[in-house]
Amino acid sequence: MKKLLLGDEAIAQGALDAGLSGVYAYPGTPSTEITEYIQMSPLAKERGVHSRWSTNEKTAMEAALGMSFMGKRALVCMKHVGLNVCADPFVNSGMTGVNGGVVVLVADDPSMHSSQDEQDSRFYGKFAMIPTFEPSNQQEAYDMMAAAFEYSEKQCLPVLMRVTTRMAHSRAVVELADAPREQNALNYDAKAANWVLLPANAKKRNDAVTAQQAQLEEDATNSTYNIYKEGKDKSLGILASGIGFNYVNECFPQGSPYPILKISQYPLPKKLVRRLMDECEQLLIVEEGQPFIEDIVRGVADMKNVHGKLDGTLPRTGELTPDAVKQALAELSTFNFELSTGFAPSENVVPRPPALCQGCGHRDVYAALNEVLKEYDNPRVFGDIGCYTLGFLPPFRAIHSCVDMGASITMAKGAADAGQWPAVAIIGDSTFTHSGMTGLLDAINENANITVIISDNLTTGMTGGQDSAGTNKFEAICRGLGLSDEHLKVVVPLPKNMPEITQMIRDEINYKGTSVIIPRRECMQTLQRHLKQKKAAK
């Protein structure tokens, strides 16, 4: 059967057809649609595949390991910075190994369309000694899912599958398997001691996994996903990984005269790379993301006939484009490229940055906060990750920092420790449960002089309105962490409540200690969706 699927959907369907028993994930662009697809899938429902959102990537990864411990196949999905959050279980899963297959799907976001950095997850794979797959297109992403689970079980290691934005968020027709594979039965791991990373066991595992690397590299050399395509003209050899391979092909509609080595499985098969280097006079390395392969190939010797991002033949940062790849190829070869030119850009076009929705509760929170902070000399507002980060832009210009999930509360605390007052943290409901709770405990334990605003819109808004783990529990969570009721306030952020909310903020800033204000009103996006559903039901 053929289906038009997003890369993310192809991955999800591939996992389901590979006999998946559970997906564990926290929403993050560009990975969100994988879990959403599984949540909507009739097959997943019929089979009871776990698909509820996890509180963060770390809890997701650990739950997946638990499922693997029981012999079943589990998928973990996240965006690239999510891998930082679950780095501890991820790296140590390379030590425990797995029982049921585990695939860790990480969607990188070069060009930072919806992210704060451009980190390349392939480094994590190498670092954790975990085999890494990188599909070039949607069909390969689908097919690779079955291969990755199988390989994970064969090598008793998790597999990291790395995709990038254009792969995750691009549709293509995908040919699906005739029937899904059966799910694994419950099966305790015969290698029980591997799961106990007590130094005595872990040392053995470290030696074993290190020794296993040679086999992984040999498998990559023989992998059907790593293809050496012959070419008559040896003046140039092209090494292309992941979707970089597509851009190379786009430049040669009639086929490349130069040899091409396509890399989609790591560890980097050095034998194949060496063959390309031996056969060709010079090398162009085309990879989406950071110069991961290029750095290995170029080495300390800084070989002059190796070209790519490090010598400026391709742009050092940002996504690859077919145009950038064509320009690089034209620079290094005598091939006669058809260079098509478009129209000159219009000088009258102005940028249109994203903005908070009209009627959004975060707007009222910022309006109130700005009004109150005018009364103080040097207020500082520590922001966080979510729609409300847009509060940095005009008209609000309301926040002074945005670093990572949860950093608003902890940075405000550190600033207060250093003598800052007023120190205000603003964090969304989902970000708070993801990574804010532990920081709030630190603040409460020292009664740090900060005011925390948990702007609760009852959903994970930025990624499209997924369930938020703490909905209806925020007051209880704050109390549980030791906050007194006196400094725990709840309000509905609406223009008509402006006097109430401004007074509340003022009072809590003036209180010398930790306080939490929870402005709570549903996200406009989910509200509209719910109203539509209600109307349809009538």
Partner: protein, 190 residues
């Protein structure tokens, strides 16, 4: 057959439903399709675009090279201009004439229209007005699709069939409204 299309507008204007209809028509014809979309932060009122490529031969890149687009379909006039470097010299722009003003420095709309009118192949339509007049106010984007039919190189009937399949489960009234909108767009091509 090969058509490279840029669909653009402002987040929330519904460019992806146009893409869905074209994709459905193309898939039914057994054509190859690649459609790169924008999700995430920019959907909140920012500029959004989708690269849609359909071809009788396999398609390598998800992105359209500069100067390669055969048609730009835009829900907003300034957004149509944003992608000019991607438009082929003999490509078409099919755009709504109604500005979507959600930024303080939106240029004078007459300047934008003048820029558009300087280009060789442009169809600029008051799609919201036409949709309202015809009693199909929610199908303005499909008027744009109808107006792009020739530039897309897809037969009119195939688009109509695709609409029936895409909107089928939403009921006859919605199917008919969209087919009416498609016909209004088709007329505007002449």
């Amino acid at each position: 057959m090969k058509t490279d299309i840029i669909l653009c507008g402002v987040g929330g204007q519904g460019i992806l439903s146009i893409a869905t209809i074209i994709g459905e028509a193309a898939m039914n014809e057994n054509l190859y399709i690649k459609q790169a979309e924008v999700h995430g932060m920019s959907q909140r009122g920012g500029d959004v675009q989708s690269n849609l490529r359909i071809s009788s031969n396999p398609i390598a890149s998800d992105l359209i090279p500069k100067g390669g687009a055969d048609v730009i379909i835009s829900m907003e006039p300034m957004e149509a201009l944003r992608y000019l470097p991607y438009l082929s010299k003999n490509g078409w722009i099919i755009t709504s004439s109604t500005p979507f003003v959600n930024i303080p420095n939106y240029p004078d709309i007459e300047v934008i229209k003048a820029d558009l009118n300087k280009l060789p192949n442009v169809i600029m339509l008051d799609i919201e007005g036409k949709a309202k007049d015809a009693g199909v106010p929610r199908s303005a984007n499909v008027i744009l699709l109808g107006a792009a039919q020739k530039a897309l190189g897809i037969e009119y009937d195939k688009l109509e069939d695709a609409i029936r399949r895409v909107f089928g489960r939403k009921g006859d009234a919605i199917v008919e409204a969209n087919i009416k909108a498609l016909a209004i767009g088709k007329e505007a091509q002449k």
